[in-house]
């Protein structure tokens, strides 16, 4: 029950982030490019909650985005699930205490997400692959996401550990002893 309520809460957070992305970051851009705060959010869930929980939220968030604005149903959902799984792997193998590690994770996830997403759209919708334009947009987006992570690192870590307590209390003990 507690986890279900947490799930509802995380979905509400996702909805709030959607409005931020659609309304605020649509205007607050670097050279006309917005960040992708959903990637940071899904990575955050993957790092601080258990894999099943994060995958379910990632799936719901992805389907919501695909339904609301996407052109192909399932692509975003699939990519969010992939991020969630990779984040779980990161959690087991890397320390979240390092700011640099988290930023590198965000950079990697942004590149993987946008590259696969774009390539899938190129294949499914038969769009010409514009490498130069895509690279330019991706570079700015990666930079923007990294800056946002740097700014909100402490906040992410603070809420992350609160969330982690609900999921990994037993695991933390076994991990260190």
């Amino acid at each position: 029950m507690k986890k279900f309520l947490l799930g509802v809460l995380m979905y509400v957070v996702f909805i709030i982030l959607y409005f931020f992305q659609a309304d605020f970051f649509n205007w607050f851009t670097i050279a006309g490019i917005s960040p992708n705060i959903f990637i940071i959010f899904i990575l955050f869930l993957g790092l601080f909650t258990n894999s099943l929980f994060s995958i379910v939220i990632a799936l719901l968030a992805g389907i919501t985005l695909d339904l609301v604005i996407g052109r192909t149903l399932g692509v975003t959902a699939f990519m969010f699930c992939l991020i969630s799984i990779i984040a779980g792997y990161f959690d087991k193998n890397f320390s979240k205490e390092s700011k640099l590690t988290i930023i590198i994770m965000v950079i990697c996830m942004t590149i993987i997400y946008e590259l696969v997403n774009y390539m899938m759209n190129v294949l499914v919708l038969d769009i010409p692959f514009e490498f130069a334009a895509f690279s330019k947009i991706l570079a700015i987006e990666v930079l923007y996401n990294a800056i946002l992570t740097l700014i909100f690192y402490k906040l992410i870590l603070k809420f992350g550990y609160i969330l982690e307590k609900q999921f990994k209390q037993k695991n933390i003990l076994t991990r260190y002893f």
């Binding site: 659609a22 649509n26 992708n36 609301v68 604005i69 052109r71 759209n121 769009i127 895509f134 947009i137």
Partner: protein, 270 residues
């Protein structure tokens, strides 16, 4: 009285030195003295203020303080009045904006009176950097169907790609997945206008006939081929013609008539 000749000369010299010092001190940049000035002010001004207040009370200028309460009350009244006026101003601004929107609708409907249209607001834009689709606030309940053409006051916006009861998703012509059959209005030469991932102002016009002569400034309109867009809707104007070594590969940049960054109201052609 005895007066020493030397003391008179000494007094003159001292006076000259003091004068020179005064001239120098009063002509140097005052910024250099700001620390000293600040220090002196902080010591002297509180005392000076106390003296001034005392003086005012003694000389009857203390009426100012007696009126302070009434001034405060007056100030409150003025603030309240100011708030009321600001509220009225906001209301007027809202009415003005509504009027502008209605005017825009009226102009649009008049311009495209040959078509049966439904007016709509743009309520959302794609959150991705790689596509530019929009969502409008009319759907199947208002008679909107897939593949209907969407226009704005200056020209073509795109077409409906999916519909819910009260919203419709529109693929705009600048989206990277968009492709519009078009023609040059002056010469009737057929071209294909494609969107790109990079910007929302220009289209790439390709499949240009080798014999056709495109000129910068030529107007580009829909050709009606493809079955989605009606013929003759303005797309934009030729901004630049890019010639390549192989003439069949040449293409043109078309500047869209519609400013997609400021797209708020549209019409859906039924």
């Amino acid at each position: 009285m005895y007066k020493s000749k030397h003391s008179g000369t000494l007094g003159t010299v001292i006076t000259i030195i003091i004068l020179i010092l005064l001239v120098i001190l009063t002509n140097v940049n005052r910024d250099n003295l700001s620390y000293a000035e600040g220090f002196a002010t902080s010591i002297l001004m509180p005392i000076q203020n106390a003296f001034t207040m005392l003086k005012n009370r003694v000389t009857g200028n203390s009426q100012f303080f007696a009126d302070l309460d009434s001034l405060k009350a007056e100030n409150e009244q003025l603030k309240q009045r100011n708030n009321e006026l600001e509220t009225q101003l906001r209301e007027l601004e809202v009415i003005k904006a509504e009027n502008a929107t209605l005017q825009e609708y009226a102009n649009l409907t008049e311009k495209y009176q040959d078509y049966s249209t439904v007016a709509a607001y743009v309520i959302d834009k794609d959150v991705s950097n790689y596509s530019s689709n929009i969502i409008i606030n009319v759907g199947s309940d208002q008679g909107i169907e897939k593949d209907m053409t969407v226009i704005a006051d200056k020209g073509l916006v795109g077409h409906v790609i999916s519909v819910t009861n009260n919203t419709a998703k529109v693929q705009v012509i600048v989206d990277s997945a968009s492709s519009v059959a078009a023609m040059i209005s002056t010469s009737d030469e057929s071209i294909i206008c494609k969107g790109s991932v990079e910007n929302d102002k220009y289209l790439n016009a390709s499949y240009i006939d080798t014999s056709s002569e495109l000129l910068v400034g030529d107007s580009v309109v829909t050709s009606g081929i493809g079955g989605i867009y009606p013929k003759g809707i303005t797309i934009g104007t030729i901004k630049q013609v890019i010639n390549t070594t192989n003439i069949t590969d040449r293409y043109a940049i078309v500047e869209t008539a519609v400013d997609f960054s400021k797209l708020y109201t549209v019409l859906v052609i039924k």
